[in-house]
């Protein structure tokens, strides 16, 4: 019976070390960009979900000028199209597999839109990398939206009241009072999302992004060894994720110490 792991096979990987190095760089960059796009998208989605845009507000007022309490008109008057769109987006992206989303973006959207085929840093194929970032960013945005929303809602309502009572507008209140506090609280959660994306981004090798997994695939194609490069990939992913998680947990503990109000 063959051995599960042959030491001699590891030496076959050595010539491909450069591919792994590039793969690590691509994975890290992909994850960074993903979280950045995801964060911006999530902020917009969260604000949409918490907005108070009600185009049919007037339908909820009865003949005497009072707010209707129940009935179809009351329901319609409370309808917020922005909230509806954002909620639908979040629920759909959280309820479907990432690989389906990645394929739809790559084959669907960027099958129609032609991307320039140049190489970033001399080795990253832009027309693969970009759709990967977009797809993962869109997915990550859905998850981060909920994190940001919870972060904003965790800020005491008295903060908003104090700010508004000083004459600051709703937007100013959000910008100077609520968001700075909320973002500080959710920073660890956002950093954790980065770790999640490092792992999840492995899926983009299926659309030709040259990440760590694609290095594994290249070795397999050239040398027919598979388990050993996979073990190398395992070690690489672990070394990226584990220390990062520990570091985040450390800062999270430290921050919560200095923050008793």
């Amino acid at each position: 019976m063959d051995q599960f792991v042959k030491w001699s096979n590891f030496s076959k990987i050595v010539p491909y070390a450069e591919l792994f190095k590039e793969g690590i760089l691509v994975t890290v960059m992909l994850s960074l960009f993903t979280v950045m796009i995801g964060f911006c998208l999530a902020l917009v989605l969260a604000l949409m979900r918490m907005s108070n845009v009600r185009p049919f507000r007037a339908l909820g007022i009865d003949k005497n000028g009072h707010q209707r309490e129940s009935g179809a008109l009351a329901v319609i008057s409370r309808f917020n199209p922005l909230e509806f769109l954002a909620t639908a987006y979040v629920e759909i992206l959280r309820s479907t597999p990432v690989i389906v989303q990645v394929f739809i973006i790559y084959f669907g959207v960027f099958g129609v839109i032609d991307l320039p085929s140049f190489k970033l840093l001399g080795f990253i194929k832009f027309d693969r990398f970009f759709p990967g970032v977009v797809a993962l960013g869109m997915n990550s945005g859905a998850y981060l939206c909920e994190i940001i929303r919870a972060g904003i809602q965790s800020i005491d309502g008295g903060q908003t009241e104090a700010s508004r009572s000083l004459g600051l507008t709703q937007v100013q209140t959000l910008r100077y009072v609520v968001l700075p506090q909320a973002l500080k609280n959710i920073l660890p959660a956002i950093a954790n999302e980065f770790v999640v994306i490092i792992k999840e981004s492995a899926i983009t090798y299926t659309i030709g992004v040259q990440d760590i997994m694609s290095a594994v695939n290249a070795v397999k194609g050239a040398t027919f060894v598979i388990v050993e490069p996979l073990l190398v990939a395992t070690a690489v992913y672990f070394c990226l994720c584990f220390p990062t998680s520990k570091l985040i947990a450390y800062f999270e503990r430290r921050m919560s110490h200095g923050d008793k109000r």
Partner: protein, 258 residues
């Protein structure tokens, strides 16, 4: 009695919840004159906070009128001098009404000085230098100039509330609204906050103070409102309210708290 110096006229103010099932405010009519120090007392749940918070539209009333600076705050739109319909600018009206809360509500991510200059800079467009100078002057008045660079977490409750008061004063409001400003304080700190408020009253600031401090209501207030069940049951001078109460609910209430 409406005088020339009337500042806020409240007429038949109502705040109903659940389609009228809960009447937090049930028709309150009162005139607030310039220089009034009005103490609002009453049992828990009587609508004192709701009344105060309606004045600057922290709560939106469901009926009645609040005329402030000639404008009815309860209407979303009003006619200006030229007869044009304009939208009520609630933000610019709010800066003329300072508000002080039971739980201070200082911004914890900013230093005391930053707390003080935020609104003057962002709302009034003051430059940082002027805003800081003014803030430091105000802090000096309440003996906290040396804590300007501290964060709220580093201050005692009494100090926080004193900062909250001058933070509101930095906007140069025409009236100050206080909702139980000393209820969250340790007893030994109540005095320092009341002293600041007395000082303010002496300077002629118009104040509406929801309070459980009967001593303060009696000593500093020139008018006392007694509320129960969302209604204004009785109002008068401290002497009238505390020495010669008429309303039976007021008598009951005073028997309990005095």
């Amino acid at each position: 009695m409406a005088t020339r110096d009337s500042l806020i006229q409240v007429t038949d103010l109502k705040k109903h919840y659940k389609g009228g099932a809960i009447k937090a405010l049930d028709g309150v009519t009162v005139d607030i004159n310039k220089g009034d120090v009005m103490a609002v007392i009453g049992p828990s749940g009587s609508g004192k906070s709701t009344f105060l918070r309606s004045l600057n539209l922290m709560e939106e009333p469901t009926g009645g009128a609040i005329i402030f600076n000639g404008v009815d705050l309860t209407k979303k739109k009003y006619q200006d001098e030229s007869g044009k319909m304009v939208k009520l600018d609630i933000d610019s009206l709010r800066q003329k009404m300072g508000m002080v809360f039971q739980h201070f509500n200082l911004f914890p991510h900013m230093t005391i000085l930053e707390n003080m200059v935020l609104a003057p800079m962002k709302v009034k467009g003051m430059n940082r230098e002027d805003a800081e100078k003014k803030a430091l002057d105000l802090l000096e008045r309440v003996g906290l100039k040396d804590r300007a660079d501290a964060y709220p977490i580093q201050l005692s409750g009494g100090q926080k509330q004193r900062v909250a008061i001058v933070r509101a004063l930095a906007m140069e409001p025409e009236v100050m609204l206080f909702d139980e400003p000393t209820s969250a304080l340790d007893p030994e700190m109540v005095g320092e906050v009341l002293d600041v408020m007395k000082e303010l009253a002496k300077e002629g600031m118009t104040m509406v103070v929801v309070t459980h401090e009967m001593g303060f209501a009696r000593e500093v207030g020139n008018r006392v409102l007694f509320m129960a069940d969302g209604k204004l049951m009785e109002q008068g001078t401290p002497e009238e309210i505390f020495e010669h109460p008429q309303n039976s609910r007021l008598k009951e209430f005073l028997a309990k708290v005095l």
